[in-house]
Each structure stands twice: as structure tokens, then as C-alpha cells.
């Protein structure tokens, strides 16, 4: 009998440990840890890069910082883990990160099959093709037989085969793991065409020494709504992520910026602005956060438009126009549900 005690005790302790780990919500875990763990891409101009102090910056990165500011009050309380197209989903599923913010397309199977909850659309994108000017191609329809660099584990892979099959054309795929690898292969002429999200193409093109020698073909062959995502099963955590993103968009709509947020919170007469910034109501509390969570987040990174312009906008090398990503009031698709 005596011999049995140790294994049973260990088993029970283990079960208790895993049980308690599973039952505590992500919000409690994050608060207890004092750090948000966020997966971003391994380096994509405008979306995620490191600055001279070794800090991560970028469009995807700033969303993580906004969440950290909302939850922990500190936009720097984030541990970033770079993720490739292949590793990102296991990192999120296994609990290695709390949130994934890495140019990830919202699709049916990622939602229903992989069991992730998408928190909204931070960037409306579509898949495009980039070729060298010297190839003399002006349309994707002329790409029959081309060698195509393509990142594994992405929607791009599937769209490409659909598109070429639909056009009755053939192609030679050259699988790559990261954007940098794709860039190197494309520049070394290992492939004729580089295909990925159009934003990614613009970002990669920005990192070429002679960007003018390359063109992005006019065809956009897919819808790529990119956004942050979390695991299924923790609605509170999903709501937090979703409403931080929405708050950034509402802030732009209402003209709240990082600079004027405090003043707006104090003086605005607009009831929605007051609710959003925590000046009235108990909105944050129903998420398990402070009522001024959105104020803190916006003060830390700015509103949606500010983040966009800072990292991707026409003043940057990536040089993307707002296009579909303008607010709905300005002819774009960005539209956040009301904050009430």
C-alpha cells in the first residue's frame, strides 16, 4: 500500500496544478504575471520591427501595447514572441502567448476548426503579386509557369493554388518560412514572383535597395481581413481584446488622439466619448478592467488612425494609403460598434 502513495499524491498534485491553471482566466493570469505575452511577426516593415533600444515597434506591436496599457496600465509590460506563419497557431493554442497579433487572416477554419476567436479586423488586406520590372509582366494572368515564393502555413498558399487553377495556369511553388527568407530568395532570383498580402508586399518592397525595379501587379486575388486573435473559451479575455481594438477606432472617429485624450475625458460633452474614456458609466468594470482602460490605451499608442499613419501611412517608407482602412465616415470599411 505504502508504495502507492507517492504516485497518487503526485498525480493528484499534477491534476490540481493543471486544473487550477485551466480554470483561472487569462485576465487573472496576465495580471498576476504583470506582463502580457503577445506573438508578433518575425520582422515585417511597418508591422513589427525593433528600434535602436531593442524595443519592438509597429502596427501589430502597438495593438499589443494598447492591450497591455488597458489591462496593466503600462504599454511596456509586454513580452513579445516572434512567430512564423507556421508556429503562430501552436504558440497561441498551447498558451505560450495570450494574444496573437501577426497579420493573420480571419478565416472560417481558423475560427471553427483551430478554435480561435478573432477580435475584429485591424487591417483589410488582399493578396497580391510582386515581380521585377525586367520580367516585363503587367498582369497576374501572364504568370503561367512562373516560380512563386510563398510563405508556408498561410492562407496565401491556398489562395495561390485556387487562383492558378481557376485561370488554368501552372506554377512552381518555392516554400519559405519567413518574410525575410522570401525577400532574400526573390532578390536572388530564386523565384520570379513573390506573393503575400498586399500590405506585406509594400512592406517588403520598402526594404529593397532599388524599390523602383519592382512592381506590384494590379490583381488582388483574395480577401485578407487581418486581425488579432485569442483562444476559444475565455469570453472575457476576447471581449477585452475586441474592445481595445474598437476603442482605438472609435477614438479616431471621435477625434480623440494620444495628445488630447485627457482633455477630451475632462471636457467633452459627447456622451459616447465620456463613456469611452471612463468619465461616465461603469463600462470598464464589466470587462474586469478599470473604467478608464480605453483612455490609458489611447494615451499610450494613439487612436487607430495615428497608429496607422505612424507605421504604415504615406509618410513612411511602407507608404500605404488608408484605402479600405479609412473610417466608414470617410469612405472606408473601418467601423466599430457603438460604445454603450
Amino acid at each position: 500500500m505504502k508504495k502507492m502513495i507517492l504516485p497518487i499524491a503526485l498525480g493528484a498534485a499534477f491534476a490540481a496544478a493543471s486544473f487550477s491553471a485551466a480554470s483561472a482566466g487569462t485576465l487573472e493570469d496576465v495580471k498576476e504575471r504583470g506582463k502580457l505575452r503577445c506573438a508578433v511577426s518575425t520582422g515585417l516593415a511597418g508591422f513589427s520591427f525593433t528600434d535602436e533600444n531593442g524595443q519592438w515597434q509597429g502596427f501589430d506591436v502597438d495593438y499589443c501595447r494598447a492591450v497591455a496599457a488597458a489591462v496593466l496600465g503600462n504599454p511596456d509590460a509586454v513580452e513579445f514572441s516572434p512567430a512564423t506563419g507556421k508556429t503562430r497557431f501552436t504558440m497561441l493554442a498551447s498558451g505560450e502567448v495570450d494574444i496573437l497579433s501577426r497579420n493573420t487572416t480571419w478565416t472560417f477554419s481558423r475560427d471553427a476548426d483551430l478554435k480561435f476567436t478573432f477580435l475584429g479586423i485591424s487591417y483589410f488586406d488582399g493578396q497580391g503579386f510582386m515581380v521585377k520590372k525586367s520580367l516585363g509582366v503587367s498582369s497576374a494572368k501572364e504568370l503561367d509557369g512562373a516560380t512563386v515564393c510563398i510563405q508556408t502555413g498561410t492562407t496565401t498558399e491556398l489562395n495561390l493554388s485556387d487562383y492558378f487553377a481557376g485561370q488554368g495556369m501552372s506554377y512552381e511553388p518555392l516554400p519559405i518560412e519567413t518574410n525575410t527568407e522570401g525577400r532574400a530568395n526573390y532578390l536572388a532570383d530564386a523565384c520570379d514572383v513573390y506573393t503575400t498580402d498586399a500590405s506585406g508586399l509594400a512592406a517588403s518592397r520598402a526594404t529593397f535597395e532599388n524599390a523602383d525595379d519592382h512592381i506590384v501587379l494590379p490583381e488582388i486575388i483574395s480577401k485578407e481581413p487581418l486581425g488579432p486573435l485569442v483562444r476559444h473559451g475565455d469570453e472575457q479575455w476576447a471581449d477585452i481584446g475586441r474592445w481595445v481594438l474598437n476603442a482605438m477606432k472609435i477614438a479616431e472617429e471621435k477625434g480623440i488622439t494620444a495628445a488630447n485624450a485627457d482633455e477630451m475625458a475632462a471636457n467633452s460633452k459627447d456622451p459616447e466619448v465620456k463613456r469611452l474614456l471612463g468619465a461616465s458609466g461603469e463600462m470598464g468594470a464589466s470587462l474586469g478592467l478599470d473604467n478608464d482602460f480605453a483612455l490609458v490605451a489611447i494615451k499610450a499608442v494613439g487612436n487607430y488612425g495615428e497608429v496607422f499613419e505612424r507605421h504604415l501611412g504615406t509618410d513612411t517608407k511602407v507608404n500605404l494609403a488608408r484605402g479600405l482602412n479609412a473610417m466608414w465616415t470617410e469612405g472606408g470599411l473601418q467601423y466599430a460598434p457603438p460604445f454603450r
Binding site: 499534477f14 496544478a17 493543471s18 491553471a21 485551466a22 506582463k35 505575452r37 518575425t42 520582422g43 515585417l44 516593415a45 511597418g46 508591422f47 513589427s48 520591427f49 525593433t50 528600434d51 535602436e52 533600444n53 531593442g54 519592438w56 515597434q57 509597429g58 513580452e79 513579445f80 514572441s81 516572434p82 512567430a83 512564423t84 507556421k86 508556429t87 501552436t90 504558440m91 493554442a93 498551447s94 498558451g95 505560450e96 518560412e177 519567413t178 518574410n179 525575410t180 512592406a203 520598402a206 526594404t207 529593397f208 535597395e209 513612411t316 517608407k317 511602407v318
Partner: protein, 372 residues
């Protein structure tokens, strides 16, 4: 009749003439080494052409026209068209050395590196006084280094996501190297053992690992282990990678050492048995010292290979020096720069790999005690 009477016999030694012109000095050396045959002449001329057409260009690029002070590639390009923009290295070298390690704690990895040097002294220098005790002290190095780098027990903890750059390479490389040798020896001995179970286990392990590419093992470390372990149990990613790399290197090491074991004449084994030594004494005193000596080039080969293979971790998103190229390149200010980054990384790797190969040559020369 004395010999001196013959007119054709010299009575005194002739003064020594200098060697014929053109066989000594620079000219002679060149004749002998560079222009000794038509083929050699052609090769020499071709090499000279290759050297003269590349070296000055590279030298100008790297030193003469290079820029050290700039805050962006555009600034560099404005100052020089065909020079290296080392300014990026100047700005980013802390990242390439330490990854995202908090800069106020840099002293900890530096101290660990210095201690590594100290711990290596007894292992590499066999004439050291009190070597046995010193080796024992060296054994504690992995624990001390672990504590210094990750913190805890009084030091501020640093998470694995903050490790990167050369520091990560060293962590993976040094642990892989130091654990793969003993594991490899044990595997090699098991594989050449007479015990059927031990032997077949070793064979299975070695053949399995050798049959799978390292990339697959890394993906296994990253992806599969996550699924096998219960949710919420977090098994550090760097530790997982270190384990996989060590297992991988051990299998290759085992085969290198088995080669050394097989190269020993059977008489050595029989003589050792005849002395009445037990198996372990036999191995420790007679077989292994000889077998390991034979295997040195192969062992160092495996070490250097492993050190370079550590760069593969970038495909699972770890930020080793090569992995850091991407986020650096993605910074607007440095968009488009990459030769400089790769050159710098190559330089760092060269230092370590060259040191290892030099040490192995020294070791071979020192242990070269016969058999030829």
C-alpha cells in the same frame, strides 16, 4: 705512397659557393612554390588575378569608404555610394550580442561568459596544477550560468523571450557541445557493447536521430511538445531547443567516437583484458584515451557544425543573430541594408569557429605520440 701525390685529388676543401641564383630568397621561394610547372603558373596567375580584382574593392568598401556615424541608411547613402554602412552595427550591436536582454543587466551574461572561459581552463589545459579539483569546480558552471542568465534566487528574473543574439547562440551552442560529448561517448560505448538490449537501444536512438533533419526536431520541440504537455505547463522554449540540439549532436558524436573505437587494433582490447582490468577501467585507462585522440578532428567537426546549426532556430521564431536581421531590416531607417548585417554575423561566427579549429589542431599536434 701517399694519396696527396695524385694531382686530381684535392688537398683542401673548396670554399662553399652560394646556392645558384634564383633558388633562395623570395625569388627562389616563388619559383618553387608558385611557378614550378606550367599548371602552377596558370593557377598562380589566376589566383593573383582573383585576389587583385576582389580584395581592393572589398577593402575600400569595408574600410576606406565606409560610414560609421549615421542614423539611417539614407544618411549613409548620402555620404558614400559604395561604402559599407557600419553605422547600423554601431547602433545595433548590443542587440546582436544580447538580444532583448535588459541593458542594465548585461553584466550577468558577460560574467557568465568570463566564467565560461575560467571553467574551460582545466578542461583544455592538461598541465594545470590541481586539475582534478578544478574540473570538479568547472562542473558547477552550467548551474551558475543558468542562474546568472535566467535569474531567480535573488537576481531579477529574465524570461526566455528576452534572450537572443549571440547570447542565444552561445547558450544553445555551449550546452549542446558540452553535453553531447559525454552522451555521445556513452552512446558509442553502448553501440559497441555486447549487451543486446543496450546495443539495440543505442542503435535505434542513433539511427532515428540521424534519419531526421535537425529542422524537423526543432519543429517537434516547438510544436509537438506543446501538444503532449498538459495545458498551462510551460516548458521553456530555449530549454526544449537545447535538449533537441544536444540529442541531435550526441547521435553524430556517437558515430564519430565509434569510428575511433573501431580504429583501435584488437590487440589493445585484448591486452587490456589480459591485464585483468574491468570494463570501465579498461575503457577509461586504455581504450578511450586512444579512441578519442583518433576522433579529435571528427569531434571538433561536429562541434563546429553544431555551433553553426544553431542558426536554424530562426525558423521557429527564436531571435538568434540571423533571426535579428529581419526586425532590424524592417525598421524604416534601415530598410534595405543587409550585407553589413550578414557580414558582421559572419565575422562573429568566424571568431568562434576558427578558435575551435585552432584548438583542435593544437591538441592533435600535442597528442601526436606515435603510430606513424
Amino acid at each position: 705512397m701517399s694519396e696527396a701525390n695524385f694531382a686530381f685529388v684535392a688537398t683542401s676543401e673548396k670554399p662553399q659557393l652560394p646556392p645558384p641564383q634564383g633558388t633562395t630568397g623570395a625569388v627562389g621561394w616563388m619559383r618553387e612554390n608558385l611557378f614550378s610547372s606550367p599548371l602552377n603558373i596558370i593557377l598562380t596567375l589566376l589566383s593573383a588575378y582573383a585576389v587583385f580584382s576582389t580584395v581592393p574593392g572589398i577593402f575600400n568598401w569595408a574600410f576606406v569608404n565606409s560610414v560609421w556615424n549615421a542614423t539611417s541608411l539614407d544618411e549613409c547613402r548620402a555620404m558614400t555610394q559604395d561604402g559599407a554602412c557600419w553605422a547600423v552595427i554601431r547602433e545595433r550591436y548590443p542587440q546582436f550580442l544580447f538580444g532583448f536582454y535588459p541593458s542594465e543587466l548585461y553584466w550577468r551574461p558577460i560574467l557568465a561568459f568570463v566564467l565560461l572561459g575560467v571553467a574551460l581552463v582545466p578542461a583544455l589545459w592538461d598541465g594545470m596544477p590541481k586539475r582534478g579539483a578544478a574540473l570538479m569546480a568547472s562542473m558547477t558552471f552550467p548551474f551558475v550560468a543558468f542562474w546568472l542568465i535566467w535569474g531567480g534566487f535573488g537576481l531579477e528574473p529574465v524570461s526566455s523571450t528576452q534572450l537572443g543574439g549571440l547570447l542565444l547562440t552561445m547558450i544553445i551552442g555551449v550546452s549542446g557541445i558540452s553535453f553531447s560529448l559525454p552522451i555521445g561517448i556513452i552512446l558509442a560505448l553502448s553501440r559497441s557493447s555486447n549487451l543486446p538490449i543496450v546495443k539495440s537501444l543505442a542503435v535505434m536512438f542513433i539511427e532515428f536521430i540521424r534519419g531526421v533533419p535537425l529542422i524537423t526536431l526543432l519543429f517537434t520541440a516547438h510544436v509537438l511538445l506543446n501538444y503532449f504537455l498538459p495545458k498551462g505547463v510551460n516548458f521553456d522554449i530555449v530549454l526544449r531547443v537545447v535538449i533537441m540540439v544536444t540529442l541531435f549532436a550526441s547521435a553524430y558524436m556517437a558515430e564519430v567516437i565509434r569510428g575511433g573505437l573501431a580504429a583501435l587494433p584488437k590487440g589493445q582490447y585484448e591486452a587490456a583484458d589480459a591485464l585483468g582490468l574491468g570494463y570501465w577501467q579498461n575503457m577509461r585507462l586504455i581504450i578511450l584515451p586512444q579512441a578519442l585522440k583518433i576522433s579529435i578532428p571528427g569531434i571538433v567537426n561536429t562541434f563546429i557544425g553544431l555551433f553553426k546549426d544553431t542558426t536554424l532556430v530562426l525558423i521557429i521564431g527564436l531571435m538568434d543573430p540571423l533571426g535579428l536581421v529581419a526586425p532590424t531590416l524592417a525598421d524604416q531607417r534601415w530598410n534595405g541594408i543587409f550585407v553589413e548585417l550578414y557580414a558582421f554575423i559572419a565575422f562573429m561566427f568566424f571568431i568562434f569557429c576558427f578558435a575551435m579549429s585552432r584548438y583542435s589542431m593544437y591538441l592533435e599536434r600535442k597528442l601526436h605520440t606515435g603510430h606513424r
